[in-house]
Symmetry: C2
Subunit: 584 residues, 2 copies
Amino acid sequence: MYRSHNCGELRASNVNETVTLSGWVQKLRDKGFIVWVDLRDRYGITQLVFDEERTSKEIMEQAQNLGREFVIQVTGTVIERASKNPNIPTGAIEILVSELTILNEALLPPFTIEDKTDGGEELRMKYRYLDIRRNPVKNSLIFRHKVSQEVRKYLSDEGFIEVETPYLIKSTPEGARDFVVPSRMNEGQFYALPQSPQTFKQLLMVGGMDKYFQIVKCFRDEDLRADRQPEFTQIDCEMAFVEQEDILNVFEGLTRHLLKEVNGVEVEEFPRMLYDDAIRLYGNDKPDIRFGMQFGELNAVAQHKDFNVFNSAELVVGIAVPGGNAFTRKEIDQLIDWVKRPQIGAMGMVYCRCNEDGTFKSSVDKFYDETDLAKWAEITGAQAGDLICVLSGDTNKVRTQLSALRMELAERLGLRKPNEFAPLWVLDFPLLEWDEETNRYHAMHHPFTSPKPGQIELLKTDPGAVKANAYDLVLNGNEIGGGSIRIHDKKTQSLMFDYLGFTPEQAKAQFGFLMDAFQYGAPPHGGLAFGLDRLVAILGGQETIRDFIAFPKNNAGRDVMIDAPAPIDDEQLQELNLKLNLKS
Amino acid sequence: MYRSHNCGELRASNVNETVTLSGWVQKLRDKGFIVWVDLRDRYGITQLVFDEERTSKEIMEQAQNLGREFVIQVTGTVIERASKNPNIPTGAIEILVSELTILNEALLPPFTIEDKTDGGEELRMKYRYLDIRRNPVKNSLIFRHKVSQEVRKYLSDEGFIEVETPYLIKSTPEGARDFVVPSRMNEGQFYALPQSPQTFKQLLMVGGMDKYFQIVKCFRDEDLRADRQPEFTQIDCEMAFVEQEDILNVFEGLTRHLLKEVNGVEVEEFPRMLYDDAIRLYGNDKPDIRFGMQFGELNAVAQHKDFNVFNSAELVVGIAVPGGNAFTRKEIDQLIDWVKRPQIGAMGMVYCRCNEDGTFKSSVDKFYDETDLAKWAEITGAQAGDLICVLSGDTNKVRTQLSALRMELAERLGLRKPNEFAPLWVLDFPLLEWDEETNRYHAMHHPFTSPKPGQIELLKTDPGAVKANAYDLVLNGNEIGGGSIRIHDKKTQSLMFDYLGFTPEQAKAQFGFLMDAFQYGAPPHGGLAFGLDRLVAILGGQETIRDFIAFPKNNAGRDVMIDAPAPIDDEQLQELNLKLNLKS
């Protein structure tokens, strides 16, 4: 038996007990005549003490030669500490050690195993097993476990069945790139790893499973942006005999349950916003509504004056920055430089100070008088003491730019509080979105999303205007989930593939099984998927997902710890009926 | 809203309520003036009634034109049934339908959606979404969900943390064949899908996670035997600061919990058996101990007579078949033919009838008298009325043969009762096993298994005799789990790789990260993995796993429903820097 207790559980009530502990040497203080060791395990830290008077010479020497991260086992007596440490739960006691065994020695770790480590990102990833010893990473993984368990509990209690769908499936060129897996037994053929279990969950609905969920790994071979992983985890759900309202209610319930159980936060009914309104009011389909700064469209009051920049713009739009009149001229110039950076791409920014006395002072006073500016203030909701920031240009671009500025300002003003939670449903997404690259419409969610009732005819005349039974759940400015009511009849699904540019042969080859299934009694159904990595990070009060993933990959899709991917043997390639076809 | 209730919940207490139900048409009985429809969903069946007097003509006609598996929605009044059906929970009531909507039509299904279907295996797999509508499959999937939930609950309550380990890892030639995944972003390099998260869970122990579990998909590109799947699910566990005894206790607790919660069965402390004893007494490292028929070794009493077959054999070994004296001569001849089939490969079988009067009658009476045969009976534990079956030959082969015969007889005699549960720990597995093909020793579990203390020296002189800290959990003759105490120091691990024929370079290239990790303070650790597919099947009282997997693959590794694997586009191949290298 390696331990009678863990390093987090001994209290004053255990004094005089003989205990055995095992763990890592966190810290060693050697005063010569007395040695203290902080012994650490997952559960906490317990102080060990060795002293000249009460500890044998041999053990004393052994203790003095311990190094950081040595793995040791000690037996000793729990004694009351002379100077207690109120910051740790075991701070009332220490262990007077009578036996010490070194279970394993340790080289000096390449970075400190402390909450604030001196290790850089790359070093931490290479030695991720050491990084995981650090509280912030360890606690993030434990937190993730807790969230997953609560999700499973809630959905199971609601009658959902977790069904494991296959990982070795079929590649479909629609959507993002698949990872493929060559089949040795089926020459020249490949499996693909699922980008999501979408078709399988729909087949489970056809199969009468009624309520399905799964916490499941999904795979996308995309060029990785920061904070994207080639493998990621979804909470995947589907329900039969439901309308959008049923789904929103269930998953609002789930999210509220998580906020309560995991964060101890009670949240009101989630507000709902139409996609079009989100774009108009926040320039963004995942608005952070923890703070205001809604867009005010100023065309009516700012155009038809002598200011050509505005006159020639498709959209003139502003936000009122609370307390922004306190910005110095230099700070405002910095903001203007910020929006002009290539990543944002604005041509410039007009601003208007709202003075405490009710007067206005703008950067375009030549063109606008107090009455004009008062209208800007009214439309953007600016109060005395605020700063109105105005951008102009092509509608889509300027909205994106102003949205970025709004988030940047919120960040600077401390309005994005990590322990405040503002969920929001965004409804009625467009069915299709135009793709500049391929010069055609693509499904915005996926080709199984149903158009709003009565809108299918519009597909022929104005495809971009067709709205879908599709919804996203947004939390603090992040999309944490999205879904839709699906098409459940073969005719509509065929029509949809047709509009998306599939030939009937392509549709049949890729999704024939699904359209076949729709002929054998498919119920109306719909669902949604949450991105677990991001959900956990946000509930954990953070925006980067990497510390909530035990062994993440870097931006080149590499696991630098195990050094994967890696070349494979020629023999393996031959067995798989493959040859390398290297470009370099 | 598609329904106010599901098809399994209405009772006599609901009479006179107006309800809305949705589901599938299970059965339709049309008497002309009255039509009954069984409406089915996941939760049950509710009878609908339409009649000339109380139903509108239009709806009556609609009802008469419904087909099997049509998806419909009805609104109506709950009424008491004239003739109640005590076999279903809703049997006291029926719904007098006032509104009927056909939600989706259905083609005639290719097989009947009944508990006993007329569909063959292949058809059922092609239309798996219809097969899942059948109770036996649907209930198996729900049962699996329940088992998984209970596993998670138990282990979480015991302080285990579920950590997701990566699916895109590195190929290692040791062990079974990997499925590989070409990396587009890393030219000429491949990921591999994990055969198990073995090294990652060990790194989590090095990382101080202390108690880890995961229900996780694993992958093996093996030539598939019946009832093997290329992707399968493991309950994977690891613990730090433990000895074998700690692990056995935790997972005995888990198994007992499952038997109790899922099967309502209370099981005593699990018996334990040494691997060597299992082989000697049952010819098998996963003995089914629901019944007796332990092997009796007869060399001492059956050799050195004039029967050359036995004299020349390495091992003469028999079992007592309870009540087997009742077998006719013809039945015994059939048994002899059975053991001589090439799949079993025995040269013949000697038998001895144990008559009710205490006398014996054997097939080798020429060589053995009553006194000799009485010794056979004593050694095999045969009682009056039994039949002693004796095989002889090379020790390993004859044990395997007699083990097969024992299982076959138990099957025929009805001794393998699916609702009886006999768990067993098998301990002290050999560390290595000889591989005829490669003419060298391989790790029996995997190269991370630690040898028994003090036995590492034996590796040099008698490698086959070295025992490991390795254990299997056997349930009803199936290995449902296995594990070991791991090596946790670099020196022993290097030595092990050396004995297994790795060059230091190979060991470093494949497992360098693990050996590095062992230098930074690795705690003693060990663990185990359960095969979830089989565990669920056995708890469900079955031995084939396929109905407990939603979308299984066939013996060629194909998903015949979605038709995968399949060829991929040339463009995809090019992006992956690959060319096909077909043999045919």
